[in-house]
């Protein structure tokens, strides 16, 4: 029982970082990025490729992956999404759907359908290991990284001109322009920040669980769950959402058997939606 609770909370940190990029993009441009999970898994494969065939150092590979993903985020936003965003949210949604299909099939073509994992020294270690409780080093590490990412993003959003311009654009695009903000460029920056989080999430996921070219969908659903529970566009909400979903899944698995793990997570999601349709900590529920 205690084990499931602790694991659920730790897993929640990982879930939060999976959801945060999606929440950010939705918050600022009201765009549901259906490619978020696939972009994450693309980052996982990128890290794996660099670490196995370029350098053996995982940290260098992670840094390189972040750069690749930021560049990709800029290209996707500038040359695909920004072009259709003025025509309403549906065309942009379809663009991200197209990107999603492209990435998962590209990965299938290049890497094949076999499952993979990023080898690392943390995966098999336990920080605490007693009769009643063991804490995996990788779970704890993911959780701490998740918290660190959310706290840094929170600081950037509250205290810097860059963060304020993102919040202003997400609240009122015309008023942001009237203060000199180039809002289309702000969209690109937001997408690039989201890609940094997707890259980090991808590496953490790939170091914790096995992954396939089609894993993106699975994590997209988790991202949806996190963001819907926590409230779209709220950073703290994303962390709360991640932990609620993680705990709900593992406690449900503990009580009803592991076959019901996913189901119990989404039953809790539906319950929260029924009680608080805008999520636990929603910020902009006007639209």
């Amino acid at each position: 029982m205690l084990q499931s609770l602790v694991n659920g909370i730790l897993l929640g940190g990982l879930y939060a970082i999976i959801g945060i990029g999606m929440s950010l993009v939705f918050g600022i441009m009201r765009l549901t990025n259906l490619a978020h999970g696939d972009l994450m898994i693309l980052a996982t494969y990128t890290t794996l490729t660099i670490v196995t065939s370029v350098t053996g150092n995982l940290w260098i590979a992670v840094a390189a992956t972040i750069l690749v993903m930021v560049a990709l985020g800029f290209l996707i936003q500038n040359f695909l999404v920004n072009r259709v965003l003025d025509k309403g949210s549906e065309p942009a949604l379809l663009v991200t759907f197209g990107v999603s299909i492209f990435i998962s099939n590209f990965l299938l073509k290049v890497f094949g359908a076999d499952n993979k994992i990023i080898q690392n020294s943390l995966a098999s270690k336990n920080v605490i290991s007693t009769e009643h409780l063991s804490i995996s080093a990788m779970y704890l590490f993911s959780f701490l990284v998740g918290i660190a990412v959310i706290l840094s993003l929170h600081y950037i959003m509250q205290k810097t001109y860059f963060g304020r311009s993102i919040r202003a654009t997400s609240c009122d695009r015309m008023a942001a322009e009237l203060n000199g903000v180039n809002t289309k460029r702000t969209f690109s920056y937001a997408m690039m920040v989201a890609m940094v989080t997707a890259a980090i999430a991808g590496v953490l996921v790939g170091s914790t669980f096995v992954f396939y070219p089609s894993s993106g969908t699975q994590y997209l659903i988790i991202a949806f769950g996190v963001v819907v529970i926590g409230g779209m566009g709220s950073l703290v909400g994303t962390l709360v959402g991640g932990i609620v979903l993680g705990v709900a899944q593992l406690m449900g698995g503990h009580i009803f058997g592991s076959a019901y793990q996913m189901l119990s997570g989404y039953i809790v999601l539906l319950l929260i939606l029924a009680i608080r349709p805008n999520g636990l900590l929603s910020v902009g529920a006007r639209k």
Binding site: S165, R167, C171, D172, M174, N179, G180, N182
Partner: protein, 245 residues
């Protein structure tokens, strides 16, 4: 005429703007002299807001040109026009409701060349509207209508404009609040900021401006120095009951 003696700040020439097939503005020309307060009077749908939005680059003109200090600004994106020194307090204030009063004001100093000077500008805004200092850490969504309008004006002043466009800043406010805001507007003008005032209230417009344009159905129906204009004639032009159009 006044605008021949003073430097021209903004010149609009033969401007036409369409929303689809609907002609919101047809062949409007006007001149805003430096340091003045110019009012644009007209009823709902006369094209006043469209005119301001087009000056700000939010709407694109079909025809005509807009020149600010000898620089052609029609066709430029809004953020570049703001950087050039024109800004607007939009109709309905449009404060950032998810942000504190202070963060709203700081958004006004977003452009890199304004950031070094932000403390001085903040002080100027706080001395103009002390209530904003009192509430600086509150979310702007909790402000009253008048305070929102002050915040929108304060935020606009933070961008260090040479020309400030005010779109219906008295809309829905209590008379005592309106009076207060117009006093502040005079002070802003005396600091050297040229002001364009869009209003539906004829008396208030004439009283608070140097020069007035009356718009009707997307055209300039009447113009003149505000002190010389006859209120009844203006009201007739406002409703389209004379031959000036």
């Amino acid at each position: 005429m006044k605008q021949n003696q003073v430097k021209t700040m903004l010149q609009v020439e033969n401007l036409s703007v369409n929303y689809g097939d609907f002609q919101a503005i047809q062949g409007v020309s006007l001149v805003i002299p430096e340091g003045s307060i110019v009012s644009i009077i007209g009823s709902n749908g006369a094209g006043k807001s469209t005119l301001l939005n087009t000056i700000m680059g939010i709407n694109k003109p079909r025809e005509g040109s807009i020149t600010f200090e000898n620089q052609l600004i029609s066709g430029m994106p809004t953020n570049k026009i703001v950087a050039a020194g024109v800004t607007m307090s939009p109709e309905g204030s449009h404060v950032f409701e998810n942000m504190t009063v202070l963060d709203n004001l700081l958004m006004g100093s977003y452009l890199p060349h304004l950031r070094a000077n932000k403390e001085k500008q903040l002080e100027k805004v706080f001395s103009l509207f002390p209530v904003l200092k009192e509430k600086s850490n509150q979310l702007s969504t909790f402000l009253s209508g008048g305070q929102r309008q002050m915040l929108a004006l304060g935020r606009a002043i933070m961008t260090g404009p040479k020309l400030l466009l005010c779109d219906e800043i008295s809309l829905g406010l209590a008379p005592v609040v309106i009076k207060d805001i117009y006093v502040k507007l005079k002070e802003i003008n005396q600091e050297g900021i040229t002001i364009v005032l869009v209003e539906q209230d004829v008396t208030r417009s004439l009283k608070n401006s140097d020069y007035s344009y009356v718009m009707l159905k997307g055209k300039i129906a009447m113009q003149g120095e505000s002190s010389q204009l006859n209120q009844e004639e203006v009201t007739d032009a406002y409703f389209g009951m004379n031959q000036y159009a």
